[in-house]
Amino acid sequence: MDIDTKTVLTKKLFPSRFYDAFFVSEYGRIEAARATRYNTCFSIILIGVDGLERGRLLESVEGLEFLKKLVAAVLGSVRSCDVAGLSEDRQIMVILPETDYFGALMASKKLSRALAAALKEDAQFNVLLSHSTFPRDGRTFQEIAGAGARRLSERKDSLWERLGCKGKLFWEIAGSLTGRNITGFDGASFDAGSGQDLSEFFIDQINELIMKEIARSPQRRGIMYYGTRNISASLPVMKMLSTAGATATKVFLVGESEGSVWEIKNAMPLLLDDPRLKETFFTFFLNEDTAYALICKENWGATFSCFHTADPVLVEGLITKFQNEYSLQEQLG
């Protein structure tokens, strides 16, 4: 399909607010120059479409119908200042001016929800989203678009997709992650506790390490959920938090309280009375640079089956599932 035909096609998909690849890339270049000049930020969201044979998405009636619905859903959920267009045959790009990493993350979540609702009948298509931000992921539009494309392909290979977590409940995912033996650099299982390679204190050490990371960069926004059986002011992580200055990372302590926990500095207790928290505890940590999740299930004899991951998609997914299922506020930093 030649470029002119594609331009005509994109205009037909959603007249007046949906653009072709040339316009989107030119706008992106201008936005990058503007952000450099005024020292601000902007983000892009890439929406990749899987399904139908190569080339048939733009050439078949069903492909075009699907794209129309997709574009309508995208434009219905973005702001009026955002610019959306078909950047490649199977890829839509949304440019979000004046939007930082967490803004892009929230916009991406909003889009993902809108797309899931609009496209639930089209089971043959699968839509994946990724985002990248200036200047975090690059200083030119090409670099930012490249980072977004790289992340889109990483998302396809992410543990979240590989383990099919999308349709599962939070505790179902937690159970399946601690119940199997996973190896790899992005996610892996390990055992800790008596008689294992790693002692149970190792788990505390990991949590202390996260707290140190938070305290070392107090201005960096992020979110952490620390789920444990009993929250008490004497836990090792609490000590680290109480001695740190004010931090921009939101720390939530999840569990039942043991004594007064309301005065713990830099953390907000969420007193959830859930029996599952008695045997499984978790740590989710997400900021601009770091994504880490640790889930540990206590077995008989003070041994722990643990799973930890640095896969941002899985960490983000776990946080979202947890927030949704406990009706917590949707926030990622």
Binding site: G184, D186, Q219, R220, E263, M268, A291, A310, S327, L328
Partner: protein, 506 residues
């Protein structure tokens, strides 16, 4: 707990009832309003501690109510909790004071947010005593708080340092100053003659760590200060290097705990200054014990090291180049105050040997909790030590255990990574393949210079070189206890490559 008055004005009757019941159960006094006009009337009459309001209330909307009450001097300080079905832009919203929550709500989280806002507001409003130490010295101030049975946090600042003393019902509960706490921190602060203080009343929930009565703790602190001034010439200087002369196991049981702690610490912290810093006991007590241990021949002072000219590891210019290079690698340079050097090793013994040699480098400080094999258990994790670069930037030596399946830790915590050191010994030769895999994975995420070092003889170097993907010209450093030059070489190679090569921001 103080009984806070809360005004609840929500559209949904059921939701308002559930909310009222929950907050009443948590000790709040709840007032209900069914529309904006009633909410306005109640707010002015009762002046609640917080107003929970729906954004689209009938008669007067939530946002309009907010604007009216913000302009009223009696209610302008009352925080608002907005509840809405979707995200809304509220004009005049005060981040850190007002709260916005979107439905569905979790009552626990809502309650936590209300508590946090009310306690933040309390802490900013209730600062009652502040002044200068030159007008009122710390011992007098603590006595005053003790006599008046005050509860809260006393912040003391002097010479760029900030410490805090927690008072509970007039008694000293705990004190913290930088890394130190309990009596050690308190006694250090008692010596301050210049600076300021600020007492913020509020409930103190942390456990009582200073056990003695306030009067006797203060007396003891002042006594130790006087004794220190009188005897300071008898104590070894802060730069003196100490060495343990006896086998720790041969020491009799039942000695004072401070002696055991000094024996434990002295191997990792031979310098008197480091030893005093890291020991949990008050400074005078540590110095006095060191002095008597020297007299009894348990410790020995290594002559020559203190007096000799200070050895220079990195020149100021070199430090500036390294610092600039690290800062240049990251897009967000404003918040970056440290760089990391990740150490991956085949075992904790080789790691401990390497760190022991690093301790001899001028300006290097060890984190004994994660650096020493016997204290770090089997797997050192986290900060093992650090260099202070020119301009207040720390270069942190960071360790992640090399047992299987620790890949996610490498990946997650390589923020600010400036270099990688790979270590192996003859025992761990079989695990070099794991090291090589870790190296590949880390370099895939962050392009950083790598230094390779090994300890022990009988290692098949050619095989290691092949496994690690090194050319015949790439250096591999051999190090052994006592050979500080090799460890210097590792760092010089790493820093040299960092400064020389173009490692673009990742």
């Amino acid at each position: 707990m103080e009984k806070f008055k809360t005004l609840i004005a929500l559209n949904d009757e059921e939701e308002a009832a559930a909310f009222t019941e929950y907050l009443t159960g948590m000790g709040f006094e709840a007032l209900r309003a069914s529309d904006g006009a009633q909410a306005l009337e109640l707010s002015i009459q009762e002046v609640p501690a917080i107003i929970v309001v729906d954004t689209n209330l009938p008669v007067i909307g939530g946002q309009k109510l907010f604007q009216i009450l913000r302009n009223n001097p009696h209610t302008s300080r009352v925080p608002f909790l907005f509840i809405s079905d979707s995200v809304a832009d509220i004009k005049g919203f005060r981040a850190g004071v007002d709260i916005f929550l979107a439905r569905p709500l979790n009552l626990e989280e809502t309650y936590a947010r209300i508590r946090q806002t009310l306690s933040d507001r309390g802490s900013t409003a209730a600062k009652v005593i502040e002044g200068k130490l030159s007008h009122m010295p710390l011992p007098d101030l603590i006595q005053f708080l003790h006599l008046n049975r005050k509860e809260g946090e006393l912040k003391v600042t002097s010479g760029g340092k900030t410490g805090s003393v927690l008072m509970k019902e007039g008694n000293i509960c705990n004190a913290t100053l930088e890394g130190a706490e309990r009596e050690k921190a308190l006694f250090r602060m008692l010596q301050w003659a210049e600076g300021g203080f600020e007492f913020t009343p509020g409930p103190v929930t942390s456990p009582k760590k200073i056990k003695g009565a306030t009067g006797s703790v203060l007396m003891e602190g002042m006594r130790q200060f006087d004794e220190f001034r009188k005897r300071q010439d008898e104590f070894p200087g802060p730069k003196a290097i100490l060495k343990l002369k006896v086998d720790p196991d041969s020491l009799p049981k039942g000695l004072q705990p401070v002696i055991h702690e000094i024996v434990q610490l002295v191997r990792a912290n031979p310098r008197v200054f480091d030893l005093v810093e890291r020991c949990h006991y008050p400074d005078y007590e540590v110095l006095r014990t060191i002095s008597s241990m020297l007299a009894k021949g348990v410790l020995e002072e290594e002559k020559g090291d203190e007096e000799g000219p200070a050895e220079e590891f990195l020149t100021t210019d070199q430090m500036i180049s390294i610092r600039e290079k690290i800062m240049g690698r990251f897009a967000d340079i404003t918040g970056l105050n440290y760089g990391k050097i990740l150490i991956a090793s085949t075992g904790s013994a080789v790691m401990a040997d390497f760190l022991n040699e690093c301790r001899k480098i001028p300006g290097f400080s060890t984190n004994q909790k994660s650096a020493l094999e016997e204290i770090a258990l089997v797997n050192p994790l986290g900060e093992a030590g650090s260099f202070r670069l020119y301009g207040g930037m720390d270069l942190v030596l960071f360790s992640i255990p090399t047992v299987k399946n620790m890949g996610p830790l490498w990946r997650a915590f390589c923020t600010g990574l400036a270099g990688l050191i790979l270590l192996w010994d003859d025992e761990g030769e079989g695990k070099v393949a794991d090291l090589a895999a870790a190296k590949r994975d880390i370099l895939q995420k962050r392009r950083v210079p790598v230094a390779h070092a090994y300890s022990g003889g009988g290692i098949d170097l050619a095989a290691c070189r092949k496994e690690l993907g090194l050319k015949s010209t790439d250096p591999m450093f051999a190090f052994a206890p006592g050979e500080k030059d090799a460890v210097h070489g590792v760092f010089y190679s790493l820093f040299g490559n960092l400064v020389k090569e173009d490692y673009a921001a990742v």
